[in-house]
């Protein structure tokens, strides 16, 4: 077997390294879950860096901090904060699902691969766990909106 160099070819066509990783077929629930998990992960990392910079403003004194907070106090930022909380909710719940799968807790027992093949990872418990993650994300939106927009 020879080592492949250059762009990966799948089914006679070139496969984009990034988009192929994210939007490969078949596009099923688990792939969407994985994509969202990674997208929320990268998004939260960027938010964390931004958050560290913003909170550093506390060292600039009362006036400087108030200026920074005033600049960030607008509907668009509040929407961003709600999205961040939803991302945290989804990423956290889906992370628990992934850990439970990797520990073999909800994967079920391995079975003989008979035709027509079904992806063994998509059992009922796992699907339920993934839908729970989506549910937690939606719930997080309402919780965040309650505390951020309505002030708790």
């Amino acid at each position: 077997m020879t080592a492949q160099s250059g762009p990966l070819k799948v089914g006679g066509r070139k496969k984009n390294r990034f988009l192929g990783w994210a939007f490969d077929k078949p596009m099923h629930l688990e792939r969407i879950g994985m994509m969202l998990h990674r997208a929320t992960g990268v998004g939260l990392l960027l938010y964390l860096i931004f958050h560290l910079v913003v909170t550093n403003a506390i060292l600039g004194g009362r006036v400087f901090f108030a200026d920074v907070m005033g600049m960030l106090s607008n509907p668009l930022t509040h929407l961003g904060e709600i999205i961040v909380v939803a991302a945290v909710g989804f990423h956290g719940m889906n992370g628990i699902r992934l850990v439970l799968i990797s520990l073999g807790v909800i994967s079920g027992r391995p079975h003989r691969p008979d035709f027509p093949y079904k992806a063994p990872s998509l059992n009922k418990t796992e699907k339920g766990a993934l839908w729970t993650a989506f549910g937690v994300a939606v719930l997080s939106v309402f919780l965040a909106a309650f505390f951020i927009v309505l002030g708790g």
């Binding site: 390294r17 990034f18 964390l48 560290l52 506390i58 060292l59 907070m69 505390f147 708790g152």
Partner: protein, 116 residues
């Protein structure tokens, strides 16, 4: 360090994130504050840095979040592309970014704590 050991540390970080992030968000929603807006005032934020327990919580949250986020991002990057040079660059890049993140965050926490 072995990848399996790093993954175990990552699991531990995930548990700690669950606990500390919940407490952190609670201090912005209902724990010791009257509401979200009030939790973002200078006195409220400064107060959280000045209280030893709260400052400790922030420090732990910072460290575990930095480890988990950078380690996971590193894993994604290593799945995306392969190669000795790439692996080395990603590993050193991940260490550098994590160190900078923790150092910057700790500077805020320690400086605000000392200035009380």
């Amino acid at each position: 360090m072995k990848g399996s050991k790093l993954m175990l540390i990552n699991y531990l970080c995930m548990i700690l994130i669950g606990i500390t992030l919940f407490l952190h968000l609670a201090t912005h929603a209902f724990l010791g504050v009257s509401g979200y807006e009030q939790s973002l005032t200078y006195d409220s934020v400064k107060g959280r840095y000045e209280a030893p327990a709260s400052a400790f919580l922030l420090a732990v949250l910072l460290i575990v979040l930095a480890f988990h986020s950078i380690f996971s991002f590193r894993t994604t990057l290593l799945e995306w592309r392969h190669g000795k040079g790439w692996t080395k660059a990603v590993n050193w890049g991940a260490i550098a970014v994590a160190v900078v993140m923790v150092a910057f965050g700790m500077w805020t926490i320690v400086a605000a704590y000392i200035a009380r």
